[in-house]
Symmetry: C2
Subunit: 345 residues, 2 copies
């Protein structure tokens, strides 16, 4: 049987109220009794029972995080950012992998509520309408990480994917590329892909680029578990089968870019001599493969940390405004390495 506040009170010959005061650093306790209580706490090895405290104060100092799959590098970094920020504010995080399965999402959300989480973070490939409905019905703050809902009802923190990919294509254009393609994840399933695709087409239009249909491959894949590298490899096969080739291809992420490059080399072509590649996310691998991949940075750790901070702020401010006005945009960068050839030379 663990030692309780009662035991401490008895040992220090004070009331439980007094012990509670010293534990919570509430003034109004004479230095003398405070020391007596502290001594008793120390001697008995008393640890406050957070469960009892939570029940009383109706706050658990824990947040739930709904995550597609922590195994995907992007999500891993985000989760690290989240836990680090929570560590600072003394919150705990309950982790839930859902694989984008709405049933799991609902179940976990229910658990979060039963466990009286103070808020929930969602880091998903996309926010389905059904999930949005669920989230809207919660009585605690919600923040989305690296994703946004269709209706923009929830606060989210993310980079500007549309703008970033616009800039990537603009960069390609500056380097003299006018025949370009892309390899994208499934637009319906991955919100970031829809955004990145939009930016792509926006740049194509603005600069009058030539993006033939057979150079633009959108993945069918729905599941997150399939290997992105393989996907990039397969997509590039298709692109290389077309009669004319693009001079550059924009990949939705670096793993896809890597797979695409592998395919290109296997077919006896050279990157960037024959085809230029630009990736996305700046995965550590990109610096180590040959040639090093030119890409867009995506500071996921920051996304996670800012996410958590925003959520905690909402929790503690009791500001019930669960709308996108609080959304935060994290800056990105273009990382120039070796996979884009300058055609102007």
């Amino acid at each position: 049987m663990a030692v309780t506040i009662q035991d401490v009170a008895k040992a220090a010959s004070v009331s439980v109220a007094t012990v509670s005061r010293v534990v919570n650093n509430i003034p109004l306790v004479s230095e003398d009794t405070k020391q007596r209580v502290l001594a008793a706490i120390d001697e008995l090895g008393y640890e406050p029972n957070e469960v009892a405290r939570s029940l009383k104060v109706r706050k658990t100092k824990t947040i739930g995080i709904l995550l597609d799959d922590i195994t995907k590098p992007q999500y891993t970094s985000i989760s690290r950012g989240v836990t680090d920020a929570c560590w600072i504010y003394e919150y705990n995080v309950i982790l839930a992998n859902t694989d984008g399965d709405i049933e799991k999402e609902k179940k976990y959300l229910k658990v979060f509520m039963q466990k009286q989480c103070d808020g929930v973070l969602v880091v998903n490939r996309k926010i389905s309408d059904e999930l949005a409905t669920q989230l809207a019905s919660l009585k605690v703050p919600v923040v989305l990480g690296a994703v946004s809902d269709r209706e923009k009802k929830f606060a989210n923190v993310s980079i500007d994917n549309r703008k970033a990919s616009f800039e990537a294509v603009e960069y390609l254009h500056e380097k003299g590329h006018n025949d370009i393609g892309y390899i994208m994840g499934n637009r319906e399933e991955f919100t970031v892909c829809a955004d990145r695709e939009a930016g792509f087409w926006q740049a194509v239009e603005k600069y009058g680029l030539n993006a033939k249909e057979e150079w633009c491959i959108e993945s069918e894949k729905k599941k997150l578990t399939e290997q992105d590298v393989k996907e990039g490899y397969d997509a590039m096969q298709k692109i290389l089968d077309s009669k004319r080739l693009p001079t550059a291809v924009f990949a939705a992420n670096d793993e896809i870019a890597f797979g695409a490059m592998t395919c290109i080399e296997e077919r006896g072509l050279k990157v960037p001599h024959d085809i230029s590649i630009i990736g996305f996310n700046d995965y550590w691998l990109s610096e180590w493969v040959k040639p090093q991949i030119t890409t867009i940075s995506h500071p996921m750790y920051d996304v996670g940390a800012v996410c958590a901070r925003l959520l905690i702020k909402k929790i503690e401010d009791e500001s019930t405004s669960i709308d996108a006005e609080d959304s935060i945009v994290i800056p990105h960068d273009i990382i120039i390495r070796q996979t884009v050839r300058d055609l102007n030379d």
Copy 2:
């Protein structure tokens, strides 16, 4: 104000005890009242307050997991295995990244206890004596994942690292390699490295191999955040600077192997023609780089899942035996690919 069991009782015109019975599926409730209660629950949207329940039953159905850094691929997979297993048994996991910092470890352990976690999982590069002391003083079950403590006091689940690396070297020997080296993580800081090194020397001794001192590089690095690839690259530089070269090098993990291979190629040598490489862990990358890396599989997902299962078993069995008798060994395999040359041909 959330709806409580009281509200439901009132709405269904029964006592709270009855409501509690139907919520917890305790028989002895007439079908008739049961339906009335269920209807009331449904209508009011009642969700049981787990915090109150936990306080009463002295079980929280949550476990704490102390993790070095979830960002490292090995640990990521383990954590996924853990959460998946917990999902099945309806446990929740509170995640703590400690970076191997004893202060953080102590702090988090304290939090785990205050939150009344039912058990704790430790997935660290090593169990320091101080951490072992802390763990031993807990009144809840402890299980170690992919690591063991010096005194083997705690149950752990892991592959047999010593045996696996013995087999790796044995394989090298079978292929005609007698001049071999290794690139290892710091033995003091990483328990697996100490084990893998032991297996290495055991094989060297058994087969009378030649493992020159300058071919055996042990990393100085203490921090987990430094890039393994870079480490492998730098270590290989040193090896290639020696007067005579080994015919094969055993790398402590695939990232190190990859870095080493990069270095070898940059110096104008070929893998496996000039130097063979064998890695460890079977990281996804190994199948995609050229040449594909021969390696030892390390099913971390399984380690995590089994870990969690064992911990939950201990929790629910109330079996207070916190000793290594419960330890579980996960099987490994050697994955033959393209980086080991057969010198017998």
